[in-house]
């Protein structure tokens, strides 16, 4: 029987000393996948390696690999983990728990920052590497497709990815609440701090019309301005540029307020009282908080932006309940497919066995049948076939819907007296058709189209 097993180490189970060297080097990932795929009993495998997690998913026949199998594998194939005791940090999941975990990872519900979009792409990349190394078969294909589909549903049916959880991005989102169109807006960066640079990057992505960078030291400011395709301006031009800018990001090391109420009153008058969004991410602050009392000025400091981020994080956490429900639905769909898929070899074996019995009985009565006219003989043969199909149909249906296929195998073997060698032959990977290897289920076809054991599928 097919067994799904997942084991891994991630940011929740391992300390930073392990996490910082956990990702496989790119050049050794393919060889690690090859090595895993050649392990005994591993039919299909997926190796997901990011800076926050390494996860291994295996499809095996009959038994689940033990946790030690995974730790041994990681120690042997990961150059930086050879001497690290991984067992205490390893999580180990089987069958539907393993699938649910992978779906949650792909939908970014297990990420350090819930809802971050990169992980789905990383799962896709890992799958692509495994596909190139021929370690992917019908089961992994199905798991991967459903994982990506659940991630898409989570993103479209919940608000999990709509709420920014970084300070710089939150500042940009707030700007969207003030301005309708960013393409005709100018941004002034006062100081070139890290946060200001991040904000500048986001602003560029949002397509602002112009970025102006202002620092005390032109030697530092000019190269930075060039890096962000911004215009450099000296501090002496502050008044002029303030009257043109729609958004100001302050992050200088100044000890006093750079923007005071009189400066802003004068600037607002010159700019015709158009709305102005001010972000003060400097500590100590660079903008006098009294400015927020002026009409059409909106001032946010670092604490305000943090509160936006915290509020969004809470919202995202609330959304994870709905997202996990979507994942559960997708897992249930996969389990249904898996139950049907697992029943195929047994159904084939049963058909083969009963067909042999039917043919043997026809053979036994061949002398009597030979005495019949051609048409009557054909009718008798059809009758036996139809009778068999009608009698076995409920059994096939029960097998398809069976939640415990192991038990079903045992019962069918006993009830119909199936020879054990037929069963073992059917569970082997050779019986997987090329169509199935591409991820297409044979169960999408009518039951009557299923091949008998030994027959070639095409």
């Amino acid at each position: 029987m097919i067994k799904i097993t997942l084991a891994g180490v991630n940011h929740k189970t391992a300390p930073v000393e392990i996490r910082e060297r956990i990702a496989y080097p790119k050049e050794s990932l393919s060889s690690a996948v090859q090595s895993l795929a050649h392990q005994d009993s591993v039919l299909e495998c997926l190796l997901l390696s990011t800076c926050n997690r390494v996860e291994i998913l295996t499809i095996t026949s009959n038994i689940h690999p033990s946790p030690d199998f995974f730790t041994d594998f990681l120690s042997k194939t990961h150059p930086a983990l050879t001497s690290v005791p991984l067992r205490p940090h390893l999580y180990y999941k089987t069958d539907s728990d393993a699938v649910e975990h992978l779906f949650q990872v792909t939908a970014s519900l297990d990420s350090m920052v819930v809802g971050e979009p990169q992980i789905t792409g990383q799962v896709k990349e890992s799958f692509e590497i495994c596909r190139k190394e021929n370690s992917v078969g019908p089961y992994l294909n199905q798991i991967f497709q459903r994982a990506v589909s659940s991630a898409k549903r989570v993103r479209s049916e919940t608000a999990i990815s709509h709420l920014p959880v970084s300070i710089s991005y939150a500042a940009c989102q707030l700007a969207r609440k003030i301005f309708q169109d960013m393409s005709n807006k100018s941004v002034l960066l006062l100081g070139g701090g890290e946060m200001a640079q991040l904000t500048a990057r986001h602003m560029k992505k949002m397509g602002v019309r112009s970025l102006t960078l202002m620092t005390r030291d032109p030697a530092k400011g000019e190269p930075l301005a060039a890096e962000y395709e911004a215009t450099y301006a000296p501090m002496s031009r502050l008044d002029d540029i303030l009257s043109e800018a729609d958004m100001v990001v302050c992050s200088t090391g100044a000890e006093t307020y750079l923007l005071t109420v009189p400066i802003m009153e004068s600037a607002m008058e010159r700019r015709g009282y158009r709305p102005l969004f001010l972000i003060d991410i400097a500590v100590p602050r660079n903008i006098d908080p009294e400015i927020s009392r002026l009409s059409n000025t909106f001032l946010y400091n670092i604490d305000d932006l943090r509160s936006v981020v915290l509020s969004n994080q809470k919202e995202r956490e609330m959304e994870t309940f709905a997202a996990k429900e979507i994942v559960r639905q997708e897992v249930a769909q996969f389990e249904k497919w898996r139950a049907e898929r697992s029943a195929v070899p047994l159904i084939q074996a049963l058909r083969h066995h009963t067909e042999e019995l039917r043919l043997a009985e026809i053979d036994r009565f061949s002398r009597t049948l030979d005495g019949l006219p051609d048409e009557a003989r054909k009718q008798v043969l059809l009758l036996t076939q139809s009778l068999m199909n009608k009698m076995l149909h409920p059994t096939y249906q029960t097998l398809r819907n069976s939640s415990n296929i192991d038990e079903a195998w045992e019962w069918i073997t006993r009830c119909y007296g199936l020879p054990p060698e037929i069963l073992s032959r059917n569970g082997s990977p050779e019986n997987i058709s090329p169509k199935e290897r591409e991820g297409k289920s044979v169960l999408d076809s009518p039951l009557s189209d299923l091949p008998l054991p030994g027959e070639q599928t095409c």
Partner: protein, 282 residues
């Protein structure tokens, strides 16, 4: 004047659809996740407006003219034009949150239309209704609808401004369009409302000139309504004219639009309930 059973049925159907649209928009705000069927509230709104269009068509056919003489007719045409404008706006700018207010108002307006008696006239000319008076009533009602839209976007503007200043980030906050969008919409609706109002008053003055030989008709009733009309026109004239001065925008413009609509609505109510539809002053 009575309401025909068919017209009543159509108005009931329209109010049902408006209520549906209102509930759908409300659920979009209360439930944080994106709607599963985003086109459902708009479809309900389109259904409502189709039924109401038929009801208005029947009413005009029944009367034999297109003038809005009673509060019932004014409200019906008002809600109909509000919904139509919103549907256009939703198609152009995606201001979904406005749907909550529009369909709420449209629902209550149609309910009132069903419930109000015809004995609440907003226009009693004492003369046959001609084309000029019909155009006057339609334009004034369209002006009222524009003023209502300016009022709604102004309220949203003030709410968003308050949220941004107080750092309140709730679900409602995320649904409101940007301040700039709201300010622009306020500007547009106020401008359109002013044009309708001015044109409406102009047609009334032509009618008065034709009938009485003077542009400002005088009579013993309607002093309050006349003062209201002048006040509304002045408020909108001020809103539009001072917008040319770039200093006047945002909150100040929002306050002016809110007061403009309130005076406008009060004038219509005074006409209906105190002046008995008389537009003449002593």
């Amino acid at each position: 004047m009575t309401i025909s059973p068919l017209e009543l049925l159509l108005l009931e159907m329209a109010s049902g659809f408006y209520l549906g649209a209102f509930i759908l928009y409300l659920s979009e705000i209360l439930l944080s996740r994106p709607p599963r069927i985003p086109w459902a509230p708009v479809t309900a709104g389109v259904g409502g407006v189709l039924f109401q269009s038929l009801a208005i068509f029947i009413r005009f056919g029944f009367q034999g003219h297109v003038a809005l003489l009673s509060l019932r007719e004014v409200l019906s045409f008002f809600s109909w034009s509000l919904v139509l404008t919103f549907l256009y706006l939703e198609h152009q700018k995606k201001v979904r949150i406005l749907g909550l207010f529009i369909f709420g108002i449209a629902f209550f307006s149609t309910l009132m239309v069903i419930g109000i008696s015809f004995r609440a006239p907003v226009l009693s000319s004492g003369a046959p209704i001609g084309l000029l008076l019909s155009i006057h009533t339609l334009l004034i009602d369209l002006g009222l609808a524009s003023a209502a839209l300016a009022f709604m976007v102004s309220i949203l503007y003030l709410v968003l401004d308050h949220f941004l200043r107080r750092k309140i980030f709730n679900r409602f906050f995320t649904r409101i369009p940007s301040l700039e969008t709201l300010d622009q919409l306020n500007n547009n609706f106020s401008g359109i409302g002013f044009v309708f109002l001015t044109a409406g008053l102009f047609f009334a003055m032509i009618w008065s000139w034709e009938k009485f030989g003077r542009t400002l008709p005088l009579a013993s009733q309607g002093r309050l309504a006349f003062i209201g009309a002048i006040l509304v026109w002045l408020l909108y004239a001020m809103t539009v004219l001072v917008r040319w001065n770039r200093r006047f925008r945002g909150k100040q413009a929002a306050y002016l639009s809110i007061s403009g609509f309130l005076v406008f609505a009060a004038t219509m109510l005074v006409l209906a309930f105190f002046s008995k539809g008389s537009h003449f002053i002593l």
